[in-house]
Amino acid sequence: MRSQPWASALVTAALLILTTGCEPARSEPPPARAEPSQTPAIATTAAPELMPAAPPQETALERTPDFRATTTDHLAAPLQQAYAAAIEEGQTRFHLVFAPGDYRDFAVSLASTRDLDLLIEGEGETPVILDGITLKLSGRDITLRNLVFRGAQAPVATLDVQVANTFLGEGLAFLDNLRHDSSSTEPLIQIAAAGAKNQPSDVTLRDLWLLGNRVEGHAALIATPRTGRTYLQSLRCERCLMAGNHSRWGLQPWFTRQVTLSHTFIAEPHITDAWLYLNSPLAAVQWTDSLLSTSAQAVHFATSPDVARIDYAPIPAHATAILLGEAVDPSAFATHDCTSGAPLALPADLGPWRALATAGQRPEITVLRP
């Protein structure tokens, strides 16, 4: 039975009144454009057209989830049936909420269509912990937030996103996950544009923790390969902290036109080859208000029969500490207000940082440099 429009409007109005102010503390309204930088130099270089539009702000009423999970058992047939029903009924969005509960060792996949918006979030003010869970998502506008992925051990990426329009990953932590399989190039976090040919996507990772993860094979922690027919217009990392991870590379922005690393703090003594692997000069990179500490190469500029090293322009870096233990190569970075120095030593125990991540604290540079 369908409700009358006027009745629906009344209920909406009443609920909106009742729920005003009930937003979770972590879900502050994202701006339509990315926040202006704290330093003028950055503000002038971060062109507005490169900033992805944030997904529409959800109202409290719209947040009534299509599915609320509390245990691993819910993630198999019940979740798949709810998701399939949403597609069959022609919904434009699927909203999955992970309530605090017991989640263990399961590969969740919501990837049957790219025509559905996905909103997936942990319930409550602190992130919900998913032990051993991998997540594969495909959709138009995808928002994933307030979740901790911990201890997943799988031959696939812990998070695999194929997005047709925008992806926002906010308030996420990846702790001690293992992507095993030495013959794979799949990263820990894989984000690929999935729109029509030459219809690019935009990705924002905000308030992200990556601690103690391990990726085997020729693979990165985060990569944006092309799995379909288009590319990412932009990849923004804002307030991301990556430390103590094991992989060959940190970030591999394949098929990505603009990479912006802002307030991104990296302390990676176990990366073996280079933190940033650039496959093509088509990817422009900006580094602002950040810290990069690695004992590996900072950036690898891949060459090929089509691309020579000189085709890559130096990466603009503003107000960033580049701690490599050697002088910063001017052909790699065009620095402005940057500092250099010895790589940071990680504490023997990352436990306190894990505690911050699981408590939903924002990553700050003070974690690395108290």
Partner: protein, 524 residues
């Protein structure tokens, strides 16, 4: 010709040369040659010429006192038909025969394309004048687009010295198939001193496309990377080293189809040792069904490809889950105190042999689980070897008959299958028994969903989650192809009479013995 194979997987045993006996000529005369090695006469295979077709009496000819070979028992020469690429003009699954390189991921893709789009292989390969060319696609990193890249080289098959201590060479990498019958025979005679020799040369079509596409792929990978999208850490390595160190099937399709690849992805397969795997894998089953419905495609349609594998760690984790399942089963089926009392009143005493067998395997599995936990906490080779050794001891024939007892509970059989993976981890020198190999790509050939009565289910992929309860994991099946073109599962002997690498698993077994699907979609 070496030891190559026919379509049934049997070796041809076609020697390159077989010399006939030499005898004294009964009819000493002078002859001249009508057909020579440079100008032989063609005869249909199976037919024989007359001696008069090969030599003629001539007063000014050579005097013959010895004969080696006759039209009915000639000196035999077997050879490959020049510039032979495909047998009968078509590639076949039996042509894909992975050899000594770890490129199963690529060979499994070849199987998929042979099954779904064989014209593609004919279109992209050419062999003429002893040179082969293959048209791959590679990423132009400056433009961000995939472009065609032709790789040309000589068509000589790469060989390497044998590793078993015997003298000679083996094909390096993929082997090739020889047609069952010669396509052409050539006959000629030759005078060597006063000996007349009669020769027959049989020319066979050979499926050289298999080793030659592998060879050109090695050249390609050395320049453009394993997937044609850059070296990705393989800079400075040799082509065969690059392609032979494993890879991801789904990433290979762009080398064949370039910009026409619409999607490439992976899909994890769930298993928890407690729940019916069908119920845990709605999405994987959707993917399988999508593949089955779209594995053949016409112009304007999207074609699906699918490969499957289990990772070594995945097999080990599942071993633990299955061992725990056996222990749970034993606890559950152990009679309680009340039942034991009733049984005693009725004079029923437990079968001592069964009790002992259950206790024995429980003890062994307890130790096995501990070894797995040790490995998972510290993933060293030594710890892996220790658990594999334990698995081999448990799986050994005669060690625990419950595993092979047809009347034993399914959970024992499920564990045995898993042990058939674990015992061969890191080696192909196991006990000769196997389930599937870990870290090995298998091509998925077909999928059939059935209900509990065995009736075929017709449904669309979108219906799978809603109709999951209708799908019976034991009645449904998946047909797989091993790129080795042999080495089918054989825990209790060969599954079928022809060990050509093609075999059927129940869907239940498939979901239990694979942890990853590799999928690609191509627009035509």
């Amino acid at each position: 010709m070496g030891v190559q194979v026919q379509s049934n997987g049997e070796t041809t045993n076609l020697a390159a040369r077989v010399d006939a006996q030499q005898t004294e000529a009964t009819d000493k005369r002078k002859v001249k040659l009508l057909a020579t090695a440079a100008n032989p006469i063609p005869i249909a295979p199976g037919q024989t010429p007359r001696i008069e077709d090969l030599v003629a009496t001539a007063p000014d000819g050579a005097e013959i006192s010895q004969i080696q070979g006759t039209p009915t028992a000639p000196n035999l020469r077997n050879d490959m038909l020049p510039d032979s690429l495909f047998i009968g003009g078509q590639p076949a699954a039996a042509d894909v025969r992975q050899g000594g390189l770890g490129d199963c991921y690529f060979m499994a893709v070849l199987l998929g394309i042979v099954n779904g789009d064989p014209a593609k292989l004919i279109q992209m390969m050419a062999l003429a004048g002893g040179n082969v060319s293959t048209t791959f696609h590679r990423l132009d990193n400056a433009a961000g687009e995939w472009v065609e890249q032709v790789i040309s080289t000589n068509a000589e098959i790469q060989t390497r010295n044998r590793t078993d201590g015997s003298v000679g060479t083996n094909v390096k990498g993929a082997r090739f198939r020889v047609a069952n019958d010669a396509q052409r025979s050539e006959w000629w005679a030759h005078i060597d001193g006063n000996t007349l020799k009669v020769f027959q040369k049989n020319l066979y079509e050979v499926a050289l496309w298999g080793p030659l596409i592998e060879k050109t792929y090695a050249f390609f990978a050395q320049q453009f990377g394993r997937y044609g999208n850059g070296m990705n850490g393989d800079e400075g390595k040799g082509g065969y080293d690059i392609i032979g160190s494993g890879g991801m099937s789904q990433a290979c399709y762009r080398m064949f189809y370039g910009e026409d690849v619409a999607d490439e992805s992976t899909q994890a397969v769930n298993f928890d040792g407690r729940t019916d795997s069908v119920q845990l894998n709605a999405d994987a089953i959707q993917r399988l069904l999508t593949f089955e419905l779209n594995k053949q495609a016409q112009d304007g349609q999207t074609q699906q490809y699918a490969q499957a594998r289990i990772s070594p760690d995945g097999a080990i984790r599942r071993a633990k889950l299955l061992a725990e399942a056996v222990l749970r089963h034993q606890t559950k089926t152990e009679p309680g105190a009340f039942r034991r009392f009733i049984n005693k009143l009725r004079g029923k005493t437990p079968d001592a042999n069964v009790t002992a067998a259950r206790a024995n395997i429980a003890t062994a599995l307890g130790t096995f689980i501990a070894a797995i936990d040790t490995y998972l906490a510290d993933r060293t080779q030594a710890n892996k070897t220790a658990l594999v050794t334990q698995a081999q001891a448990i799986e050994a024939i005669g060690a625990h008959d419950l595993l092979r007892d047809p009347d034993a509970a399914k959970v024992y059989h499920d564990l045995l299958e898993n042990l058939g993976v674990v015992i061969n981890l890191g080696t192909d020198n196991g006990p000769g028994r196997r389930m599937v190999y870990a870290a090995h790509a298998y091509n998925i050939m077909s999928v059939a969903l059935c209900n509990a009565q065995g009736a075929a289910l017709t449904m669309q992929p979108a219906e799978v989650p809603r109709r999951l309860a209708e799908i019976d994991g034991v009645r449904s099946s998946v047909v797989l192809e091993n790129p080795h073109a042999r080495n089918e599962p054989n825990m209790n002997g060969p599954i079928d009479a022809v060990n050509e690498g093609r075999f059927t698993l129940t869907l239940d077994s498939f979901l239990r013995n694979t942890d990853l699907l590799r999928l690609a979609a191509v627009d035509h």
